[in-house]
């Protein structure tokens, strides 16, 4: 369906056997990236922002996130499990963090490192960027990769408001790799595996906006690992080896909605949930909202605990993380848990590695590169929109009448695909069959 250069790639896949073409995903997509073709959902790569709304909407579990083969870890002598705290938020608080981590070791990892160890360094990187750009009034956190993509395709005028710094997991993988090398490991023997709560973080690793190399060897879906660990926790192995973890209590909550913005100067906003993010960006673009300082944004409601690959109710997971943060704090205060002062210095190399030189605007609205042609198309679009019924029935395989109108002016669909325009024309019935496949009965032949 998409023509021309493909500049976004994704790990979202549609399972053709499970997909019923029910249109649920298509209607949920914030960028109108999905069409029904041949009775199945088809995702347009350049429009998709990896937000995962389609997966959440699918009643048939037909959309999935391709992950790396878990066996890949066997290729490395040093097998690092890079976990966001969202992962421990998945487990009931009756399980100790070290019990959860000991299961990861039993599964084959040699080291465990939490992404949130990098909060202090990330703060410094954000602050450096903000100080370097006094001309920008509102900064948008680059934390949620789906937000950055959404801005590229729907709000291209805001690309320069995004702090041009890569995802924290890139820094964390570099820090732990350096630590292991300093301890004598050969670089090629180290494999860092990130446990992801969503599709957007995978895309940020595999197909980064920065276009730079990743330091992550593979990505593992959080639900997959949760199931494995849960099985072992139920076995209640009393001989589990405790693993040292020295995470700072205040950093545990970083991935939650509102976990990031309060760390910064200025009138900060914490916006979470797809619809809230869309509304806020729309108003910000119109300058109807004046937000000097840092705006934190998470596509998922409640932040990463709402990610599509998480397994628990997001409100429950949030509470559990808050509980663990308080626990860490108590342990720190009573000095029961040893927290050696962490080194938070940033090397020149890391600063360079974490920089994004440019976030390109990739407008999905632009009808043509040639203004005169785009103008003709926009005029036609307006007329077609008026002619269509406006009921958004999706029988044409597009999410709305407006989307169909756009497909028509782009030459990707015909007026006849609308069943309201001419329900009895052969062209219309052929078009409907090509969209909906065999389920459409040829009533004429039965008569």
């Amino acid at each position: 369906m998409p023509t021309g250069e493909i500049y976004f790639k994704h790990s979202l896949r549609v399972n053709g056997y499970l997909c019923k073409g029910c249109t649920a995903c298509m209607r949920a997509c914030p960028t109108a990236a999905i069409r029904i073709r041949g009775g199945k959902a088809v995702i347009s790569e350049n429009k998709c922002v990896d937000c995962g709304e389609c997966i959440k909407a699918c009643p048939h579990k037909a959309i999935y996130i391709k992950q790396d083969d878990f066996g890949l870890i066997e290729n490395y002598r040093y097998r690092v499990c890079l976990v966001p705290t969202t992962f421990i938020g998945q487990f009931d608080t009756k399980y100790k963090t070290k019990a959860i981590y000991s299961c990861l070791i039993k599964l084959g990892f040699t080291h465990i490192y939490e992404v949130e160890h990098e909060v202090a360094r990330m703060k410094e990187l954000y602050n450096m960027y903000m100080e370097d750009h006094p001309e920008i009034r509102t900064f948008i956190s680059p934390y949620c990769p789906a937000v950055t993509r959404l801005i590229q395709v729907r709000f291209p005028s805001l690309v320069d408001n995004v702090i041009h710094v890569r995802a924290p997991l890139e820094l964390a993988s570099r820090v732990i790799t350096k630590k292991l090398i300093d301890e004598g490991a050969r670089p090629e023997s180290i494999g860092v595996f990130y446990v992801t709560p969503c599709a957007a973080k995978i895309a940020a690793v595999k197909y980064p906006v920065s276009g730079k190399d990743t330091c992550v060897a593979g990505v593992i879906n959080m639900d997959f690992l949760y199931n494995k660990v849960m099985l072992m926790l139920h076995d209640s192995d009393k001989n589990a080896q405790p693993i040292n973890h020295t995470l700072n209590s205040s950093d545990v909550l970083w991935s939650l909605a509102g976990g990031e913005a309060p760390h910064f100067k200025g009138a900060h906003y914490a916006v979470d949930g797809l619809q809230n993010v869309l509304n806020f960006l729309e108003r910000l673009e119109d300058e109807a909202i004046d937000a000097p300082g840092l705006v934190e944004m998470r596509i998922c409601d409640q932040g990463c605990v709402g990610g599509v690959l998480t397994t628990q109710d997001r409100f429950v997971a949030r509470k559990r993380l808050e509980y663990r943060a308080r626990l860490f704090e108590r342990l720190e205060r009573s000095k029961i848990r040893e927290t050696p002062p962490e080194d938070h210095t940033l090397t020149e190399q890391w600063i360079k590695d974490m920089e994004i030189s440019e976030i390109k605007p990739r407008s999905i609205y632009k009808l043509n590169d040639n203004y005169a042609e785009a103008f003709r198309m926009a005029e036609r679009l307006k007329k077609i929109e008026k002619a269509l019924p406006g009921v958004n029935c999706s029988a044409c395989g597009a999410p709305s009448c407006a989307a169909l109108a756009e497909d028509i002016v782009r030459g990707e669909a015909k007026m006849d695909t609308c069943i309201f325009i001419n329900p009895h024309s052969p062209a219309s019935s052929d078009a409907i069959k090509s969209i909906w496949g065999e389920r459409i009965k040829d009533t004429d032949k039965d008569q």
Partner: protein, 137 residues
């Protein structure tokens, strides 16, 4: 391409539909984001002015290959002293309007800053017509 919108007195909540709709078209045309922003900001300010001060009015937007012309015409009290109104921080907005976060006296100066041409025809007791042009080339 021509667009018409209605303005309702005191309806701040629905203000912004005109600029949103124009913004969508400008994005489809592939207009430079800077010019989109200027257009949208100017139009929104002018609409808010009419919502806050006038008794009602209309917005007419014309887009062609060279420019965007926006005419916001209202029936209202008119502007007694344009020179004062053009000064940053000068405002005659009511306390109620200010409570809603508007009325900072930045409306007209902000429109001037964001447009290439600005014409204000006003008659006290009759109404005001603000004509704004953003050049695309």
């Amino acid at each position: 391409m021509h667009y018409t919108f209605k303005i309702e007195r005191g309806n701040f909540t629905d203000a912004g539909q005109a600029s949103s709709s124009v913004k969508r078209t400008l994005k489809q045309l592939g207009v430079d984001p800077v010019n989109i922003k200027r257009t949208v900001v100017a139009l929104f300010e002018a609409e808010i002015n009419a919502v806050a001060h006038a008794y009602g009015g209309t917005i007419d937007v014309d887009i062609d290959s060279e420019k965007i012309v926006m005419v916001v015409a209202d029936e209202g009290p008119g502007i007694p002293n344009i020179e004062l109104a053009m000064q940053e921080g000068w405002s005659t907005a009511s306390a109620k309007v200010r409570e809603m976060g508007y009325g900072a006296g930045m409306g007209l100066p902000n429109i001037k800053k964001n447009t290439d041409e600005l014409k204000i025809d006003t008659k006290v007791g009759v109404g005001t017509t603000v004509t704004m042009t953003v050049n695309l080339a």
